[in-house]
Amino acid sequence: MIPKGFLKFVAKRTVLLLISLVIAVYISILLANFGGLIDEMVKSDLMMSITMNVRNNPAYQGLTASERQKIIDSLYQSALEARGLNTPFLIRSLYHLKNALTLDLGTALYLTSDSGSKQVRLIILERLPQTIMLFTTVTIINFFTNLLGGLLIARKYGSKIDRVIAALAPTSVIPGWVYGIFLILIFYTWLHVLPPGGLVDYPPPKDPLIYFLSVLKHMVLPMLSWIIAGLFLGIYSNRTFFLIFSTEDYVEVAKAKGLPPRQVDMGYVLRPTLPSIVTGLSLAIIGSWGGAIITETVFDWPGLGRLLSAALSYPDPPVIVGEVAIYAWLLTLTVLTLDIVYAFLDPRVRVWGG
């Protein structure tokens, strides 16, 4: 059922993107390790765990301190060799690369996960769902609002509301977190209606339904700030697209063919415009991963972004490097998804294999 060209395209893109991901993370590692920071992280982490193991190992209980130290040292040396940490800079970085890609980044210096673990991987993965939840919800809302808004306004071309939207388009140059600050000032500092941040009320409600509603309440302002930031420009550019695309010849042909107006709008105006809309959307989405970091910080939302700004305040290098890696992963998945969606919408890409 699925055309072969499409599958080939997906496979090719996935491979290419994964290669790009590996190279990107490698570059990040190189940048991070310029002062040997990652080497130190890994080494001290190693030393700590070996020391702990030896101390707790009953087999070594009867030994003197210096004998134990000798064991620790020799274990440490062989561990260094096993992990290639005695090798030159570039090769060492490859070992770090492998670790970074799998988020196997040892222990954090200061931060802990909610479950008490200091494992960087757990800390990061714990925050992942909250970010995904916020991000994808907003993206979906944005997509449909801007799409429908664009369609509606395109129909009212030349009217007052059309001009109002056009005049308000520059407001989208202001990033979501600035709107977030304003929203907090209005809805919390002034009106005391909504919370200024966090995931859920404190103390967290026991009842799952109330808990869920509380989370929703905390999601309102962050989502609103994001939505407002993209709204007017989004509607305006979609409306422009629709206007341009509705003057295409094949739209006239469709009308002349006697197709019902609904079908002309959906099939001959909307459908061919979707690839352009998705392109515009991709740039916005890819850009908003970065902005999300600051937005999460403004709203104290316990996601990846908040984690990153917490980590940088100490600073806690293992967590920071881990964050860079996971964001690289998220970006790769985003780009891949958008490429697939685009291929689905635009047959030219499928047939020509991208």
Partner: protein
């Protein structure tokens, strides 16, 4: 050639549309009859209103339409009286279909060719999709292309192929009249010839009537048995093709004929001086008078009506009316 049965009768069709600079009087006093298996060539310069006429007949109107009136009798029935929905269901594609100029962009880029050719069947005749696709494929093959092309996307076809597909699409609901708006102007000469031959063939096979819009007089002479010359939104001459090509009466028609280079004689092609007039503020009286060699006072003062100069031959020119 023509069977004598009148399929289409247009009376006083008028179309104006609004622009920022004023109201464009795109079509005025359009009157003609089309009989079964007629090929009416509608000729004129760019911007004279030929394409507007094509769209006016299928009621595909611009957003800034101002006036749209007149009578269009289809098999005796005035379809201008039908509301939009009735017109859509009964007239569009079922009775009149259209092949647009430059089929390059006549097809939706994201749907397959076969699907678009089959679409009118599904919409108008409630045919099941599979059946419709089968018929579409048959028609495509009839047009001289492999049936597998139905599975292709528009960008995979050449200009000539798309034009054939567009013709197939225009025929699928067995309309009586097909309007061809410059169907070959974007194609090379060889493909052009092929398409014209194809059009001849299917006209005979399906017993169609054509309204063939073109600026190319030579091309028109291949197919047409009737000619209507449009200038500045009005028909200035209407006659059978034979008469038109041997004895054009209107000065504009004569100018057009004279401007066609000939292969066999030594005659140098002439040109018509001046430029087409603005349709917002057309010249007073006869719209052609500023460019006419024979114009005199009456021409700028009063607009001539269509004057009968022979059997089925009408001319809008004072030269043939009240005399000089």
């Amino acid at each position: 050639m023509s069977s004598g049965k009148t399929v289409l009768s247009v009376r006083d069709l008028k179309l104006y549309y609004r622009t920022r600079k004023g109201i464009v009087k795109a079509l005025e006093e359009i009157n003609f009859d089309l009989e079964k298996e007629d090929v009416l060539a509608v000729v004129g310069e760019s911007g004279c209103g030929k394409s507007t006429l094509a769209r006016a007949l299928v009621r595909v109107l611009p957003r800034n339409i101002h006036t749209y009136e007149g009578k269009v009798f289809l098999n005796g029935r005035n379809v201008m009286e039908l509301d939009e929905e009735a017109f859509r269901r009964e007239v569009r594609w079922k009775k009149i279909s259209i092949v647009f100029q430059g089929a390059m962009n006549s097809f939706n880029p994201v749907y397959k060719i076969g699907q678009q050719v089959a679409e009118p069947l599904v919409i108008h005749d409630n045919v099941e999709k599979k059946e419709a696709l089968k018929k579409a494929r048959q028609l495509i093959e009839l047009m001289g292309m492999p049936g597998i092309f139905a599975e292709r996307y528009p960008f995979e076809l050449s200009g000539g192929m798309k034009q054939r597909a567009a013709i197939a699409m225009a025929l699928i609901t067995n309309p009586e009249i097909v309007i061809l708006d410059e169907p070959t102007s974007a194609l090379d000469v060889l493909t052009q010839a092929n398409i014209i031959n194809l059009l001849k063939r299917i006209k005979n096979e399906f017993r169609l009537s054509y309204i063939f819009i073109t600026h190319d007089l030579g091309l028109a002479s291949e197919l047409a048995n009737k000619v209507a010359v449009i200038y500045a939104g009005k028909i200035v001459e209407l006659s059978s093709a034979d008469v038109f090509y041997t004895e054009p009466k209107h000065p504009y028609s004569r100018g057009l004929i004279a401007s066609v280079p000939t292969l066999t004689t030594d005659r140098k092609p002439e040109f018509i001086s001046g430029a087409p007039p603005s349709l917002i503020d057309p010249p007073s009286g006869c719209r052609f008078h500023p460019r006419c060699r024979f114009a005199w006072d009456k021409c700028s003062a009063e607009e001539p009506g269509m004057i009968k100069v022979g059997e089925d031959h009408l001319v809008r020119c004072w030269l043939y009316g009240d005399g000089k």
